[in-house]
Symmetry: C2
Subunit: 173 residues, 2 copies
């Protein structure tokens, strides 16, 4: 079975880093819970938006993300049993490319270069399962589309959903 796993907000805590930076920069106390159903860009006051939009273009942003809870253990178990690929739409952010490669080296070293895909559109991927947080990636996928919960997608009901890596383990192991 071929499984594609997205990076941002699936194995890497991008939303959490946005919050951490925003709260520090603006002495705020925004929480993940308050963001349920919204993009970070819709949750911050307009005067803060230019700064928050700059996060993903800042050196070190992607390199410093924390792995999401249990992702390393469960992805390793999936890897031992299935053909696991990491597939990130990273081409939008050329500054992220090397950082994502190095991030995988550190946190998911068993995912060697052969199993890494940095792309744009994901509808050219051929496989059985896609675990992703974005509807526009999950929708055109021909296999089983599994939405990984992230604050921004809490109101989407079109896909099979998992709320944690423990739930992924229950589903696919």
């Amino acid at each position: 079975m071929t499984i594609f796993i997205d990076m941002d907000e699936v194995i890497a805590d991008t939303y959490g880093m946005h919050l951490e930076l925003y709260n520090k920069e603006f002495n705020a106390n925004l929480t993940l819970e308050e963001c349920s159903g919204s993009e970070i860009y819709d949750m911050v006051p307009e005067n803060c938006l230019p700064n928050v939009r700059k996060h993903v273009w800042t050196d070190g942003f992607f390199r410093g993300l924390k792995p999401l809870k249990d992702s390393q253990e469960v992805v390793k178990q999936l890897f031992d049993k299935h053909d696991v690929y990491i597939a990130s739409a990273a081409m939008q952010f050329p500054n992220s490319l090397l950082e994502k490669s190095e991030w995988l080296d550190e946190h998911f070293p068993f995912i060697t270069w052969e199993r890494r895909i940095l792309c744009g559109h994901k509808h050219v991927l051929k496989g059985d399962v896609l675990i992703d947080d974005r509807s526009f990636n999950l929708e055109p996928f021909e296999g089983r589309s599994i939405m990984f919960s992230s604050p921004h997608n809490h109101n989407v009901n079109k896909f099979e959903r998992v709320n944690s890596w423990k739930e992924v383990a229950d589903l696919l192991l």
Copy 2:
């Protein structure tokens, strides 16, 4: 029709750059014609091999490649008619990732980020045509596999072959 096009030795003259650097470094006169049927690594004396092997790990190597003859014009014509993606097994060389993105910005600006794939294994790609110089990429592809001639593959007879971008145009336009 979805067409995947490789980078090195298909739209970017990697072999030519190897030769140019080797000839300069060692005051040699090795030509593309002499290399027919061989990898560059098999064509240089053993004492030169460590240097030549370092080329692809050198900053600027991929950024400085010349586009192969007629590639820009024909890929643009294909792009206007089909779903064209650039797919390079670049993950093996993390140092090449940003350089390849910038190289495409310069030489193939119409290939926007959505249509760029930097990957490892290419057998997860789903499409109709793959133009590539490597048997191990062409073999597992489910669609039409077209081998783009490069000195190293001159003796391979397993695939439909094109010797130039003019021939690609005749075939696919």
